[in-house]
Symmetry: C2
Subunit: 321 residues, 2 copies
């Protein structure tokens, strides 16, 4: 198969062609420099999709729920894409979860697209290319783009900073040893889900969450929106329509209150900063044997502090383009 220049893939992506989308996504994920101009063009055509971040600890049944939710979106006639982030070790690059085989019911439906991405090499939680993948789906006409991530530490915060609507999935019986994670999640959720509500202690989990929300823990980002707690059971197919209704209601609320403009601005500020960090890392790695190595040697010899060395490194940066 001949290599198609990335810019030549753009019309296909904009027309929603699955093959063109797949190819551009792969190049975005691996950080191919040649794809940069195409991704710039794609960015100019994106901006219509509703971006929904879905996070929760592993074991919360999140992946199954996402599949059910995608099916519910399809039933409303909308196209839906899912960007699933695989947690992988920062040291070996190996995937913990391995290949996912799921979305069985939706196989063959051109209106739903699932893309798994490895977090390898990423520092801030989201995998490299995640936000470009969202742009690609957005520009390709997917109405709703979900970013699904495992909520451990920074991930859930990063996804909240990239999404219009953040859904946090809890499940009964997962134990209380992860209170710190839960506390962090309380603040970022626009919609709470309690999955596995067929289980006996689900009512308590729902009540606990509603309780914590009613305590009025600071929710600085929200003005009018009342964060709902939606009980679901993927097994019994319960609560999925209600969850989609809550997600849609949050989007309407953002638009009607005008809050969407501020949210978009925050997302873009964040993205600008993250892109800067990515460029810095790329150049650091690319130049490891040259200027960077000389600076690291000086830091090693303690003749230069890391901060001063970093200033020199930054001062030497000039744009590629």
């Amino acid at each position: 198969m001949a290599y198609v220049p990335s810019l030549d893939l753009v019309p296909g992506v904009l027309a929603g062609e699955v093959r063109a989308i797949a190819r551009l996504l792969s190049r975005a994920e691996s950080g191919v420099e040649e794809a940069r101009a195409a991704l710039d063009a794609i960015y100019g055509h994106a901006g219509r999709a509703h971006i929904v971040g879905i996070t929760g600890v592993s074991g919360s049944g999140k992946s199954t729920l996402v599949a059910k939710l995608a099916a519910a979106v399809r039933r409303t006639g909308r196209k839906v894409a899912i960007v699933a982030i695989d947690p992988s070790s920062p040291f070996t690059g190996g995937s913990i979860l391995g290949d996912r085989i799921r979305m069985g019911d939706l196989a063959g439906d051109a209106g739903v697209y699932v893309r798994s991405m490895a977090t390898r090499g990423s520092l801030g939680g989201l995998a490299r290319g995640t936000l470009e993948a969202v742009d690609v789906f957005d520009a390709a006409g997917y109405d709703l783009v979900m970013i699904e991530t495992v909520g451990v530490g920074q991930d859930e915060v990063e996804v909240a900073r990239a999404a219009h609507t953040t859904v946090v999935v809890s499940a009964p019986g997962l134990g209380d040893d992860i209170q710190a994670i839960k506390a962090g999640m309380l603040e970022i959720a626009d919609v709470h889900v309690v999955s596995k509500c067929d289980k006996p202690d689900a009512d308590r989990t729902v009540a606990d969450l509603r309780n914590m929300l009613s305590l009025g823990l600071s929710l600085p980002r929200r003005t009018r929106w009342q964060v709902p707690v939606v009980p679901t059971s993927s097994q019994r197919d319960e609560g999925i329509a209600e969850l989609l209704a809550a997600i849609d209601a949050h989007w309407s609320s953002l638009e009607e209150s005008g809050e969407i403009a501020a949210r978009r601005m925050q997302i873009n500020e964040r993205r600008l900063l993250k892109s800067g960090e990515e460029i810095l890392r790329d150049r650091f790695v690319r130049d490891r044997d040259g200027k960077t190595a000389a600076l690291v040697s000086e830091v090693n010899a303690r003749t230069l502090s890391p901060h001063r060395a970093a200033e020199r490194l930054l001062a030497g940066l000039t744009p590629d383009a």
Copy 2:
């Protein structure tokens, strides 16, 4: 109390004076620009201490263990400092754990110093100023500097990247819903601790860990060192001396194998990159109303992609000094 210029604090820090140390630490933590030259000077005098990262999920009894370990270090005549990272919400800046009152036995001992730092505003896990705080203690003559952090997501990875020796604390009965975290921790540990070994199911936790280690999961950073699993009970004061012996043995192993040079180089490479990201963030924030705002507006209007905007932002950076 008159403001003492930071550079004037340096001789006191080098002499191990607690007041000078406390003042410089506060300035490092809040990112006071005036303290920069002093921290540069301090960096030049550091490099002797053994830096030990201690991580583990909350509920693992880590803080108590760290206090016991510090007491054991003191009994060998060495000075010990502890930099404890408080997890705090990225959105409200509020501390979850609140003030820590502990280290009771060691109160009044000038050979031990505990400093808590908030993670507020930090993106990569470690709090701002953490590594500078380690430098300060190092230059002030503390033989062993522990960085204690809650292991959720990126934190434990960051601490492993900053320390010579990484200790991962597990406890029996914390549940298996955090397998992803555990799997990540398996790879970064130089020493495993199972705390609360007075509890009934502790033996199983120890056996499980030894099992996983014997499976030969990739340990790319280690060559000869055999990662030990040390059972401890803070309540019964058991295993603490063994833990310190394991930490000391790892340090000896690094020195004898010559691996310490590579470890220091990795730490410094990482630190250079993190410092660069910090400078970038600072300038981004400082310039939010000026050039940054103009770039964000263009990104918002989709006339410029985040990547191109970031390139322009970086190109405009010149060193402060």
